[in-house]
Amino acid sequence: MKVSVQAQDFDAGAEIRALSRDPKVGAVASFIGVVREVAMTLEHYPGMTERALQRIVVEASARWQVMDCTVIHRTGTLLPTDQIVLVAVASAHRGDAFAACEFIMDYLKTQAPFWKKEAAGWVEARASDDRSAERWK
């Protein structure tokens, strides 16, 4: 399990390949979040961020068969088309990989202390993100 909060970009292909080296892995599901339309700066709460992401990964592993998992979230200034976040989950079968990947993203959106700021101001949290996280309860 790998959790990283970093300013630098990531190589999603390399990260995904790294999750499929174990011959018992039969599925790797991944999600990449990308900056849409306007530049932004991402602030976070150092220490708590890593801790919150670890907890989310542990929770996903308790619910589904997760053989390995990588979560990378960038901070700092990001431009349109830049990658923001990668969640990739390896499992024996696709059902667990898909579900765990979506769960981790939904929880990350509501539990991990990141905040986006655009030129127009701080991005408001969306009620739809809360609803997405609620459905896993």
Partner: protein, 85 residues
């Protein structure tokens, strides 16, 4: 009883500070009570921490409910709902 209080994102800007060590008056033993105590400073504090404002809180880097207890040496944080991902 001293605690470290941190503020992030819009709240940090509104309050003009990223955080401070504060000595809690007796009777301030929960997050809700601390919020109310800080609101009592008036001005930007009263506005930013007003009852209607959605604010998330953490104790020692774990999300916590307003009823959560705080004790000496804790790291407490106040911040807007998160918007990562």
């Amino acid at each position: 009883m001293k605690v470290k209080v941190l503020f992030f994102a819009a709240l940090r800007e509104q309050l003009g500070t990223a955080g401070e060590e504060i000595e809690l008056p007796s009777g301030v033993g929960t997050l809700a009570a601390l919020r109310s105590h800080l609101r009592g400073r008036g001005g930007a504090w009263e506005l930013a921490l007003a009852d209607g404002k959605l604010i998330r809180m953490a104790v020692n880097q774990d999300m916590a409910q307003p009823s959560a207890a705080i004790k000496a040496g804790d790291e407490v944080a106040f911040f807007p709902p998160v918007t990562g991902g």
